[in-house]
């Protein structure tokens, strides 16, 4: 005895055995993914549904109402796999971020500091970057990380790692990256490039950094290729881990969550809680960066600002993580939602992003403290790397001395 599922294909009802239904669903879902990006996707899918319907009808008669599993398999085999664009080679959907679609952003900066580009006291490492640009040279995607690294005077690999971590742990790195790729102008002229790195020429800057041994700290690999390979593997593993971990959670919640009416109350409350915490956290971070103390409470004397910043970041991850989890759980328990993508997530994500961007814009415009914090950021990052570097060097010396 088999369970039967009734489906609607082309306006007619068909009854399939459960296994056949699953096979059909997988076939149609695969077809939809293969046709992603095809302007006629829906029409083709409809054509295919109707063709399947006709084949089913041919199988049924007065005394046969149900399409059996093996018959469904035979029909699907006869349909054949969906070829995205016949006569052409595979064309995966690579419309995400071609370097051709760059918004020209020359001279659109509202900041008043753009005038004094790059003619600062160079060479000694004291030159402060004046503007954030995207730097396409040696870029991996759009040059956002490269540009940020130049702005903050740190190794681009660190920035990239930070983005990967942000994406894996909180999922926000990708969104931030896309926004930055669209908003931040690209450094094209020599003047813009100089302003991006804060040095008169990138070559001198490179030599200076090489001399200071910036790259040595994380190198440890025989050559550039080996380092790149390691980076790539690391990214891939992080992605797989995050995915597995997330889908486990999703399955757990999808199975255990019940449709409790209290969710409708809990969801806004949790969202508010998260918003409030984020707001307070941002205030704390800004005040730390601008004045060196957290909302009026000074840091202990021997703790540098960058350590405080790092601690704040960790605090945020620890507190906001569970809140976020709870919110997701609410979404799943709202029912009829399978784990994974849903419209709710999209609406939630987009709304959150819009509010964030709007708040940031307003804040930068009206809040001098924030401007000061942003101004201090390069220096703090610089100090952080310098501290780490000197610590690294002392470690190296200590490791060497016993041998002598």
């Amino acid at each position: 005895m088999n369970k039967v599922i009734t489906i609607n294909l082309g306006g007619n009802a068909y009854q399939l055995e459960e296994g056949g239904y699953d096979a059909l669903r997988v076939y149609l879902e695969t077809a939809a993914t293969r046709l992603a990006g095809n302007p006629d996707q829906e029409e083709i899918l409809l054509d295919i549904e109707w063709a399947i319907a006709e084949k089913f009808r041919g199988l049924l008669g007065n005394h046969k109402n149900v399409v059996a599993n093996r018959e469904v398999s035979a029909v699907l085999a006869a349909m054949g796999p969906i070829e995205a664009e016949p006569g052409k080679a595979e064309n995966p959907a690579t419309s995400a971020n071609p370097s051709g679609s760059r918004p020209s952003g020359s001279g659109s900066g509202p900041s008043g500091t753009a005038g004094t580009a790059g003619q600062g006291p160079s060479g000694s490492g004291g030159a402060t970057p004046k503007r954030l640009y995207r730097i396409p040279e040696n870029a991996m995607i759009a040059g956002v990380c490269n540009g940020m690294a130049a702005y903050l005077q740190i190794d681009p690999t660190l920035v990239r790692l930070a983005f990967v971590l942000l994406t894996c742990l909180w999922g926000s790195g990708l969104a931030i990256y896309v926004v930055l790729a669209m908003v931040v102008p690209e450094a094209r002229s020599p003047e813009e490039k100089a302003a991006a790195t804060g040095a008169p020429s990138t070559a001198q800057e490179f030599i200076r950094r090489a001399r200071e041994g910036y790259y040595e700290a994380i190198k440890g690999f025989p050559d550039r290729r080996a380092r790149r390979a390691w980076q790539r593997r690391f990214k891939r593993e992080m992605r797989v881990n995050a995915y597995q971990w997330r889908s486990q959670w999703q399955h757990y919640w999808a199975e255990h969550a019940t449709r409790h009416p209290g969710v409708w109350v809990a969801l806004p409350l949790i969202s508010l809680l998260q918003g409030a915490f984020t707001l307070i956290w941002i205030c704390a971070l800004v005040s730390l960066l601008a004045t060196g103390d957290v909302l009026g409470v000074a840091l202990p004397v021997n703790v540098p600002v960058w350590v405080g910043t790092l601690l704040l970041l960790i605090l945020y991850a620890v507190v906001a993580g569970p809140i976020k989890m709870a919110r997701r759980a609410c979404y799943w328990s709202l029912g009829h939602m399978k784990p994974g993508w849903s419209l709710w997530f999209l609406v939630d994500g987009v709304a959150g992003l819009v509010v964030m961007v709007a708040l940031m814009g307003l804040a930068i415009h009206y809040c001098p403290v924030l401007r000061e914090a942003l101004h201090n950021l390069p220096e703090i990052c610089h100090q952080a790397t310098a501290d780490v570097q000197s610590w690294w060097q002392t470690q190296g010396k200590e490791a060497l001395t016993p041998h002598k």
Binding site: G10, G11, N12, A31, L35, N38, P39, D40, E43, I44, D47, I48, W50, A51, A53, E54, R57, A78, M79, G80, P81, I82, E83, A84, E85, P86, G87
Partner: protein
């Protein structure tokens, strides 16, 4: 790439031409096309044909009209547009040219072999 794979690539390239030719004869619907192709080297499945038809329609080579069928959903009957006929004509001429070249070269080879 084996010989079979090469033949496959050739067939793929020619499929659009063949479909144009079939539709040129009379208004047909997808299952008709598949049936006609089924007895030839160009035997094709729905999974390939539907995306191809929709691409050709997008390029303005063919158009369709709905016709009610006795039972079940209405069917799309395809016909060529003026542009489709033009392309078919051009392809036919080109095909004949290629064919002639191939024959000529083969004759030459035969003559030399003798």
């Amino acid at each position: 790439m084996s010989v079979n794979e090469k033949f496959g690539a050739m067939r793929n390239g020619l499929l659009e031409f063949i479909v144009l030719q079939i539709i040129a004869v009379e208004k047909v619907y997808a299952a008709d096309i598949l049936k006609q192709l089924g007895s030839t080297e160009f035997a094709t499945q729905e999974g390939t044909l539907y995306p191809l038809l929709s691409k050709m329609r997008r390029e303005g080579l063919l158009d369709y009209e709905w016709k009610e069928s006795e039972a079940g959903p209405p069917r799309k009957y395809y016909e060529l547009t003026a542009k489709g006929r033009e392309q078919l004509q051009a392809t036919l001429e080109y095909w004949n040219k290629i064919n002639a070249t191939v024959k000529q070269l083969a004759q030459k080879q035969n003559a030399e072999a003798l």
